[in-house]
Symmetry: C2
Subunit: 367 residues, 2 copies
């Protein structure tokens, strides 16, 4: 039997617990699932299945292609495409009854309206109005135009809900959050009978006042911490172990890896493991991050290579052997911890996970 | 017809030109192809096919799984697995006549020898002896053990070639390079009738003295610069364009993206494009990198999101429109340039390229 170089363990039961915890917390809302970017790198097919069995019926992706990958597996779900309508996509959207565009500007609105007119029927969509991200969503001027001729501009469009997106809900008491929420409340007042959605994972924890009709958690489902200022309320979903390929002792003055970027001050025992930046182990962890052996931190020596990382095991009493597994993400080091070491966020750690892992999914037997 | 959000253009003709240029430069050696990590993210199937048609017959991958993906497509190729023999893999290696392990330590050697003894035949492999990477390869002590009982330790193993790997050949006049080369020459003297391989892409350009019997280019094939201290002698292989989703003008004092990490000092026109860190556009390019519009640099505003990046187009005379494409990698910005902005190397840019691009391969009609 092949022994895979690295094992990525994805606990779909924990994912379901996280979904249920968020559903309970946002009990007056529908809890949706954000599964864009292949469900944050964890596998959209598996994740959608787990969320579906946990009761989730509304999903968000970034691209139409991602929606098409999910479509058809479950008759009673809805999939919203956050990045909106590219020119030429209207027909494809309309051909799938479970896939809906998020309209991000008046051009999107106009394309969808014209298409509805040609089809001679009302077409469904979500409407995204920006409240401060300045990324997607109708900006202030477009929103004012919309308000001035709302009935006409939205004619032929069945607005399923209006939405906006927090920029800084993960930062405690960030002034943007109440400012965006107030702006959104004002917008809602102009759409009195239309459902509303504002909160991402972090927003769910800021205040029940921001839950409205649909909440859109992503990262919290996957076990990342939606409240970075305090303990993580979510269950971990991802663990990653990699196999030791080689153990050796180098002499004082010898260097490790490319550019000879680490030089040993004294004799030192090293382990080289079977993953690298091509597996999403970010190269900026060179000479900085750690792997773990039985709960003990082993510092990275030298540069992260494409397929290999070398760590010091010099300080360990009982040392591992070639063939043993070291922890990359797990009990000793969360994805958020690894991200902090790399100067980034857990999201990027997850979405960077590569294709060379053996993926083991923990799931209920009865699906 | 769907209009894809981003297009990754891979010029296999340029790849073949690069292979031929390297073959000419290392004319006394066999020029192999390093195609690990899905051919540096560009697609192993397509890249192997192109290299095969350019004359390449020996390939290097990191993992056995990668070799199995290529195996069987061409009867007359050899595939070497750089990360060596994991326990339990010997049988799988032996079952494939075109796949060979690189033996990286005496444990690998012993496993392969024992397996050969059980099979009652000589089994082929490459032997990696370290000269200063201290990552994989027999270290000094193991090498001394090997020399003391060479016939016995290597009994039953058909050593196809010995190899080592440069740490710093891409840095001009780095003292490690001649030191490693001298060490390798000494090692070669103990294996008088065995072919030898030392040079990676950069090594090929340092000196013909280091070419020996096989050269192992990777990055140079893919158009990255093997001589960073001077102009890139290779043809570019990769270009990447992404589509503009939204254009808007924000007011002075308004912020962009997560954490409100960019704040406009004056009214500013922005474009939001359809890729993000889930597509391998590294998050550390936040507020730092550039995209290009008709040769003009457009600075990134705020944080790179998972699926979106926002840039300033305020300074452009004739401005692009939503639906237009901006250059991520191309004539204005090479993969190496983008890497420099992110504080990394072009290799990481390529191996991080995600799965959400439309991939267009330029190739000969006659394959």
């Amino acid at each position: 039997m092949l022994r895979f170089p690295s094992i990525l363990h994805i606990d779909l039961k924990a994912l379901q617990s996280n979904y249920k915890m968020l559903s309970t917390r946002a009990a007056m809302s529908e809890t949706c699932g954000v599964v864009k970017a292949d469900a944050y790198g964890l596998g959209a097919d598996q994740v959608v299945r787990a969320l579906y069995h946990a009761g989730c019926r509304t999903f968000f992706v970034a691209h139409l292609e991602e929606a098409l990958q999910i479509d058809g597996q479950y008759p009673d779900i809805k999939i919203y495409v956050l990045n909106g309508l590219l020119t030429g996509e209207a027909e494809e959207f309309a051909a799938h009854e479970t896939i809906f565009p998020v309209l991000n500007n008046l051009q999107d609105v106009s394309v969808w309206q014209n298409f509805a007119a040609r089809q001679q029927k009302k077409l469904p969509a979500a409407l995204h109005i920006d409240t401060g991200m300045n990324r997607l969503g109708l900006g202030t001027r477009e929103y004012e135009t919309l308000l001035s001729e709302k009935e006409q501009i939205l004619q032929g469009i069945d607005i399923k809900f209006i939405m906006s997106h927090f920029s800084s809900a993960d930062e405690k008491n960030h002034p943007e959050t109440p400012r965006q929420a107030a702006r959104f409340a004002e917008i809602m007042s102009h759409f009195p009978r239309v459902p509303a959605s504002l909160s991402n994972s972090a927003g769910i924890f800021v205040s029940p006042d921001y839950h409205y009709d649909l909440v859109r958690p992503g990262m919290a489902l996957y076990g990342l911490n939606p409240t970075p200022h305090t303990d993580n309320p979510m269950q971990p979903v991802v663990s990653l172990q990699t196999r030791i390929l080689n153990i050796q002792t180098i002499k004082a003055g010898e260097s490790v890896g490319y550019g000879a970027a680490y030089r040993a001050e004294k004799e030192e025992t090293l382990a080289t493991v079977n993953l690298g930046y091509a597996d999403g182990f970010l190269r900026c962890l060179s000479n900085k991050g750690h792997l773990y052996w039985q709960g003990q931190a082993c510092p990275i020596r030298g540069r992260v290579s494409m397929d290999l990382v070398t760590v010091s095991i010099d300080h360990l009493g009982e040392k591992p052997q070639a063939g043993d597994m070291m922890e990359v993400i797990g009990l000793s080091q969360s994805a958020d911890d690894l991200a902090a070491a790399a100067g980034t966020i857990g999201y990027e750690i997850l979405t960077s996970l590569g294709n060379r892992y053996r993926r083991e999914y923990v799931q209920e037997d009865c699906w």
